[in-house]
């Protein structure tokens, strides 16, 4: 089921209505059932796999906590973690195994489908196991709550990645229908729909055909396409996140924000904390800090960062493109760290009211260059295409896109940035900073009808559903 679609809205509305109509004892059971039904739209086998992962990690975490000796604790922890990761690796990466190696009759690795959202719920189950093993939290005694925290449908497919502990805490509270929550959720969903359908899918109209024949483009075309793509992927993924957060809010559950105007970050490190923030936080908490973080010297910090980016790249997929995506992202962060001192001196020179904006523009341009270069590897399907783009970025050639498409892309990006001006930092609905309620209502009506007017296009799948 496509998140940015009318059937999803109907599904959500029915779920919210039934959820708050039911008695408090039945609500969470109903929500679990709803989440499994939602997931079953992508495949019944996927639901079975998720239930398997849930039960394994639930049992292992419980026994890990109960075990008295350190060895037993470690044993249960590793059993849960390894089984969880084996399922994840098997289903996510088995496709790269050469079919001839597994020369079984009728078998093909390609026949296994990647379960939608497996990366996201695996993050949660792994995080849960680690937290319980480290005695950060007690294990959840009820399978129902734990299973629901793993499968909670608004964030099941592509995050935001919230700790099971935090979701369970909210699920256990006695929540009644709250009109304000519902309206706030609705505003976020509307904003998410707008970003996905009016911005991302509009840009996709130009970007997707162009990338399928990328060798026909040169110079300025490639630069414009690369910049347009980062806005497409931003609007697409942050749009999805807003719909997820809004949906959860309608059900009275608060999820963390995933994007915080990342293109206006001061530097590369800040960018990665504002882009897909819940994933960055997960990596930081469960990998970067256990590896020593930045406490063990510069070289070790660099190595830890490299490991994080490499895992992030492999998480996206085991292809040269994603590995290069990771390496280049790390290289930019490295440059950021190494040049921090000299850049600070430059910043101090600009610290006057009139020059402050110049500094902001420079940061913005640098972030755009950084992320656009990284995303070349993310968007292209082969290394040859990525290399072609880098080799032809500054060559002159006939502009295939033309001025109309340039203006169209620029206009779409400007609309998004203009609307984001009224959005408070740290997420929230799109017109939060508009003080006049009449203007705000008018703005929402405008967004609603723009959505209707651009909705007659075929659906474009969310970029992050593939992960």
């Amino acid at each position: 089921m496509n998140f940015a679609s009318f059937p999803y809205l109907c599904f959500l509305l029915a779920s919210v209505l039934l959820y708050f109509t039911l008695g408090k004892n039945l609500r969470n059971f109903f929500l679990l059932l709803t989440s499994y039904i939602f997931y079953s739209f992508f495949g019944f086998g996927f639901v079975a796999l998720m239930i398997f992962t849930t039960i394994i990690t639930f049992i292992c975490a419980r026994y890990c906590y109960k075990a008295e000796t350190k060895n037993a604790q470690l044993g249960f922890f590793l059993t849960g973690l390894l089984l969880d990761l084996v399922v994840f690796i098997l289903f996510k990466y088995v496709h790269i195994i050469d079919v001839d190696i597994m020369n079984w009759p009728g078998w093909s690795a390609q026949k296994l489908l990647i379960p939608v959202g497996i990366s996201f719920y695996t993050f949660k189950t792994v995080g849960y196991c680690i937290d319980v093993y480290k005695r950060k939290y007690e294990p959840e005694p009820f399978l129902l709550y734990y299973a629901l925290s793993v499968s909670f449908f608004p964030q099941l497919i592509a995050g935001p990645i919230e700790k099971s502990h935090n979701i369970i805490g909210q699920l256990k509270e006695n929540r009644n229908f709250n009109a304000e929550n519902f309206i706030e959720g609705g505003k976020l969903i509307l904003w998410g729909f707008f970003k996905k359908i009016a911005i991302a899918d509009t840009l996709a109209l130009i970007i997707n055909p162009a990338y399928s024949n990328i060798e026909k483009f040169t110079g300025l075309d490639l630069i414009i396409l690369s910049i347009a793509f980062i806005y497409q992927v931003y609007a697409d993924f942050s749009g999805y996140s807003d719909i997820a957060i809004g949906s959860a809010k309608c059900l009275g559950i608060k999820l963390p924000f995933n994007f915080n105007k990342p293109f206006f970050s001061k530097n590369c490190r800040e960018f990665w904390l504002r882009w897909h923030a819940t994933l960055s936080t997960w990596f930081k908490e469960y990998i970067y800090i256990p590896l020593g973080g930045n406490k063990k010297g510069k070289m070790r910090t660099f190595l830890n960062l490299f490991i994080i980016f490499l895992i992030s790249g492999i998480w996206h997929g085991i292809t040269f493109n994603y590995i290069c995506f990771a390496i280049l992202s790390f290289a930019w962060v490295l440059i950021d760290l190494i040049t921090e001192g000299s850049r600070l001196k430059l910043v101090n020179k600009f610290r006057s009211a009139t020059r402050w904006y110049l500094l902001k523009i420079m940061s913005y341009v640098a972030i755009i260059i950084m992320f656009a270069s990284v995303c070349v590897f993310f968007r292209t399907e082969t290394m040859n295409d990525a290399i072609y783009i880098f080799r032809h970025l500054f060559t002159s050639g006939e502009a295939k896109l033309g001025i109309v498409k340039y203006l169209f892309i620029a206009g779409t990006i400007l609309v998004l940035e203009f609307m984001q001006m009224f959005q408070a930092s740290g997420g929230g609905h799109c017109f939060e900073l508009m003080k006049n309620p009449y203007t705000r209502i008018f703005a929402y009506v405008t967004v609603l009808f723009i959505l209707l007017l651009v909705s007659a296009r075929p659906d474009v799948t969310f970029q992050y559903f593939q992960f």
């Binding site: 059937p7 009506v445 009808f449 209707l452």
Partner: protein, 315 residues
């Protein structure tokens, strides 16, 4: 401001915006929608139409209807035969059009699933179709019901198709020739037509669409109800299409004797004018592998007129 007031203002604003868009859209669509214009012309000429041409872009791009006596073209780009049935029915019932002959289309693509699925301009066609008809037209009626209701309630949401924005360069397309393309491009074009448009890439078992073939039957029955004689036309295709079928598509269903719609037509003893291979070696008359260009249209109309006249003399 209290929440209640905000909701009331929001709803009022929504209703006002909806009404404004609704009225403006219908005014503009009346002038811009080519299908509405075509229907108006059909109504105006209803008394003089003896031969009615129906079909999709293959018919529209192959036959210059004004060049044939008392012939009117109801063919339209991208129209599937299910919508053709409803359009024909509407004209017969409401405009008193009483042609002697209807020229039906039976190309390779006409009754395939791929072709019948991805149709646009629903704003026009859904005005001819009842909600009960929607169920049988698609495998997934729920999403189709949703689309139907959306267009009924918010017709302006279909403005891009209704206002014919996609069709602005149709005339320009017709000026090109297939000769201008390299051999690889020609094959790629044929491959795209066969693999992506007709076969939906991987659903070859569903190549022909049963519902679509049922509508062919319904169209023939409708013609008989009104004492109209149907004639079936197979429009020209380029050699590359046949090469792709032969070399790349392992489907016996595409062989002429096995095509279900043609078997039906043979069983019903409806005469067929077969031009499928007629211009297979004439890339200068096509702009892609399955559409004649403007020069091809004129040349084909001359040949077609001659063949049709001799057929109708004995039919």
């Amino acid at each position: 401001m209290p929440l209640k007031n905000k909701i009331v203002i929001f709803l009022i604003l929504c209703i006002i915006t909806h009404l404004i868009l609704y009225v403006v859209f219908y005014r503009v669509a009346e002038k811009e929608n080519p299908l509405l214009q075509q229907m108006a012309a059909c109504k105006k000429n209803s008394k003089v139409i003896k031969i009615l041409l129906i079909g999709d872009s293959h018919a529209e791009r192959s036959i210059n209807a004004p060049g044939l006596d008392s012939t009117f073209s109801l063919a339209f780009y991208g129209e599937n035969n299910m919508f053709t049935y409803f359009k024909l029915k509407y004209c017969l019932e409401n405009y008193q059009v009483r042609p002697k002959y209807v020229l039906l289309q039976c190309d390779l693509s006409t009754y395939t699933k791929g072709f019948n699925y991805f149709r646009t301009n629903n704003f026009f066609y859904y005005s001819l179709v009842g909600i009960s008809d929607i169920r049988e037209m698609r495998d997934e009626p729920v999403s189709e019901y949703y689309r139907y209701l959306k267009i009924k309630l918010f017709p302006y949401s279909d403005w891009q198709y209704a206002l014919n924005l996609a069709g602005k360069n149709r005339q320009k397309k017709g000026e090109a020739t297939f000769t201008e393309r390299s051999t690889e491009e020609k094959t790629a074009n044929a491959r795209n037509f066969m693999q992506n448009e007709l076969m939906c890439s991987d659903k070859r078992e569903n190549l022909f669409f049963t519902t679509s073939i049922n509508y062919l039957k319904k169209t023939i029955v409708l013609c008989k109800e009104y004492n109209i004689k149907p004639v079936v036309i197979k429009y020209p295709l380029m050699q590359q299409v046949f090469d792709v079928i032969k070399n790349e598509i392992d489907s016996t269903a595409l062989q002429i004797n096995n095509r279900p719609p043609e078997m039906l037509i043979r069983n019903l003893h409806i005469p067929v004018l077969d031009f499928e291979y007629f211009y297979a070696q004439r890339p200068d008359l096509f702009f892609d592998c399955h559409h004649l260009n403007n020069a091809g249209k004129l040349a084909f109309t001359r040949v077609f007129k001659h063949k049709l006249d001799s057929l109708l003399r004995s039919y």
